[in-house]
């Protein structure tokens, strides 16, 4: 039987599904007998889930256009340095 301290140490491998079958079995057996660790496992799992896909991935439009302009300037500089044709300046 795992102690609660050992349970905590192994929690990540269980949540990330990287632990072996024996470890999973021991964790599952521990949480059936320890309501606190059951709650910790459940709420840590929900913590990770709630972050997936909720935080916005937005880019202000002017940030995006400034980025593209900066890249274009860099590209022009590089072409000029290399003396490539087709650069109007």
């Amino acid at each position: 039987m795992l102690t609660c301290k050992e349970f905590l140490q192994e929690l990540n491998d269980y949540l990330d599904e990287t632990g072996d079958i024996e470890l999973r079995r021991r964790i599952e057996s521990h949480i059936t007998q320890c309501p606190n660790c059951f709650v910790i496992l459940d709420t840590t799992k929900k913590t990770i889930q709630v972050y997936k896909g909720v935080l916005p991935q937005t880019l202000p439009p002017d940030v995006h256009s400034r980025l593209l302009k900066a890249v274009e300037r860099k590209s022009t500089e590089r072409k000029l340095r290399a003396g490539l044709p087709g650069v109007q300046h």
Partner: protein, 207 residues
Amino acid sequence: MPATQEAGIFDESALVAKAREGDLAAFNELVNSYSRKIFRLAKHITQNDEDAEDVLQETFLKAFEHLGDFQGQSKFYTWIVRIAVNESLMKLRKRKSDRSVPLDEPVDTGEDTVVREIAVWDENPEQQYSREELGQILDEAVQGLRPAFRTVFVLRDIEELSTEETAEALGISVPAVKSRLLRARLQLREKLTRFFKRKGDDVFAYM
């Protein structure tokens, strides 16, 4: 849920090859695919929009400049994440007012794994809040973590890099990633429990 480039239509290595030959349109396609993620990552680490924009620009300009050095052994995304993390950390270190703990500090005190609050959550806690409110709660909880933990959590659980990729991007060992991630997750769990616990279930908080 926004569609992502992982859907499969997007041929990253072909774009990288074209961009390496100087094809600006191909490079811009890479920029368009990853700029939002890089901005979010930079914002989480630096904690402000202005620094995040600087990091975003520096990351893609460096990537453009050094595309010839990119070996293609790792994914292009992992490579630019590494650049973005380095740029973000430089911003943090430069900021004089930043009195937070440095990233390379040893953090194995064990104290952070102490669990204080144990309470059952609502079945669907996110439904109690509007999308904006929820975003703010989650954001503030992450911002409250120490930089060493925050960075690992952002890379592993928000940007979904593997443990190995995270270790590589941060220049720390795999065991260090694992121990920081555990602490970060447990600390966030504590913070979020205050918002998401089922009402009237305090009987569970007896320890």
